[in-house]
Amino acid sequence: MAKELIKGNTAVAEAALRAGLEAYFGYPITPQTELLEHLSARMPELGRPFVQAESELGAINMVYGAACTGKRVMTSSSSPGVSLMMEGLSYIAGTEIPAVLVDVVRGGPGLGNIAPAQGDYNQIVHGGGHGDYHMIVLAPASVQEAVDMTGLAFDLAEKYRYIVTILLDGSIGQMMEPAELPPMQPLKTDVPDWAVRGTNGGEKRVLTSINLDPPAQEVMNLRLMKRWQEIEQNEVRYKEYFLDDAEYVVVGFGTAGRIALSAVRAAREKGIKVGLLRPITVAPFPKDILEELTGKVKAFLVVEMNSGMMLEDVRLVVRGRKPVEFFGRMGGVVPFPDEILTEINQLVEGLLTTEGHPRDRWLARLEKTIG
């Protein structure tokens, strides 16, 4: 299929529809709304349910209900709306049913603003909802990658009976880029064994997340965690750029990773041996490659559009064996490649240390810029 110039939100919506999305439930919020708007036209055209819910609470629980029937369903939102969905996400995880969420992150906390940000990383990657659960989190860095990951999200959700979140930020959601959309897939016809559908005289099926007996709940927790270990084994995805001979490695996901790539290219032109590791699955986190790099390189620079959230995941792997520095912009401010290049230069020229916390050093530097 030919490439077309298409907005990220619209592209994800169309890709989901073509991947066999059977029902969509959502609530308007910038910078995600085009996704909902596109499906409000396309889903009825194809005779598939589209519901603008009364709230994100409504939307996620409609997804919960529809997902209990084994259909491919999704919702999308942006940060404040995703906060409202946390209850439902925990219930979906606790019921072990597949569902897909798109979070087009904006600046926060609070109502914040509608500019691109990555401040939902901790909420999405390290919980948010209550209880012991994980989500698979995909972090594309371009419209094309977002399109490709949409189909993958449904496949992974169904394979593991897990929630898959596509973590976008406002810029990928809003940006128009050339992208090739996948061909239209037929709707799934198989009904998974666990799905409710009416007994029709057979055994009844009950889907619930309540488990009053702690030992029985623990068995369920264990099952979830074992599946998570399996996901960690099989589903780690990342992109590497110039890593073969790299002495310094920048780590960044999504838009931050993409901007960092420009900086890395500029540094390479100046002869600096720097590469980029761009996690595509931020959960499961690409630990093995980071471990391998820790043994090889001189230092790391983590770049994010938040106050250093993935930074902690990187530090957990590196464990003080190599210096890790951090650069981030917050609140919807998008870093420029120049700023990251400056940081790379500092890494090469500066005094490297494994003492203290990189966030403190970054804040001290940042205060001079934005104070």
Partner: protein, 259 residues
């Protein structure tokens, strides 16, 4: 007693749609009566194998242990949203929620109003027992003025704690609502009327006429600190003046329906 040889006639048995699970409801609680009515109606409509129930959070959280058909269990208040999701993707199934008054009229007010306003083709069985049963008898949105609960220990003071919400009246104002009635479970006559209403509410769904809800005044002897018999009288004397029984919305299409 005169023994005759008239053959015994079976007049009462457990509907098959109810399993054999021993009840966990308190003695004198009418949750069980409501369950039975739903089971009888679905059986009479031959809908048991075609039904998906949505349980809510409250004393009836384990409703699915009694009903012998497919069920899901929603988060507190969200059952109408969950039912919406199911019904939209499986429009030929019969989908109903079973919710208490804390669940539906407090934490879930947004979801129930949304579902009713969209005219979702679902049936709602709404148990109004004037308190939060499961958590030990706190004030509910349906708690009567002056009623003592564990969180209104000196009686609900309407100045500080507001007035009871009359759910049936409220939802009847919405165009999407096709059938909204209030019935009671405090005596056999009202139970028969309640059953007829539940039947109608499911027929409304089958015929695609709109959103249907039956509010049922229900006893909670445990938290009302009354005997089961006193609890029945309490419904009649105390609850019914605040929650009058009646038909609050019968759309014209429903009025034409012959049950």
């Amino acid at each position: 007693m005169v023994l005759t040889d008239t053959p015994a006639k079976l007049v009462y048995e457990r509907p098959e749609a109810l399993g054999t699970t021993v009840t966990h409801y308190c003695p004198g609680c009418t949750h069980g009566v409501a369950h039975r009515l739903v089971a009888e109606v679905l059986e009479e409509m031959s809908e048991v194998g075609n039904t998906i129930g949505v349980a809510s959070v409250g004393c009836s959280v384990f409703a699915y242990n009694y009903f012998d058909f497919d069920f899901v269990e929603a988060a507190h208040g969200r059952a109408p949203a969950m039912a919406t999701g199911i019904k939209r993707v499986l429009p030929d199934k019969t989908v109903f929620t079973y919710q208490g008054d804390g669940d539906l009229a407090s934490i879930g007010m947004g979801e129930i109003v949304g579902a009713a306003s969209r005219g979702e083709l679902i049936t709602v069985v709404f148990i109004n027992n004037a308190n939060y049963g499961m958590t030990g008898g706190q004030m509910a949105p349906t708690t009567l003025p002056g009623q003592k609960t564990t969180s209104s220990p000196t009686g609900r003071d309407v100045k500080r704690q507001g007035y009871p919400i009359q759910t049936a009246e409220l939802l009847s104002t919405l165009e999407g609502s096709a059938y909204i009635v209030r019935r009671s479970l405090h005596n056999s006559r009202e139970i028969r009327r309640a059953k007829k209403a539940i039947r109608t509410a499911f027929e409304v769904q089958k015929k695609g006429l709109g959103f249907a809800l039956v509010e049922l005044l229900s006893t909670c002897p445990t938290n009302w600190h009354l005997t089961p018999v006193e609890a029945r009288d309490w419904i009649e004397e105390r609850m019914m003046p605040v929650f009058p029984l009646g038909d609050y919305k019968i759309s014209s299409a429903v009025a034409d329906l012959k049950v």
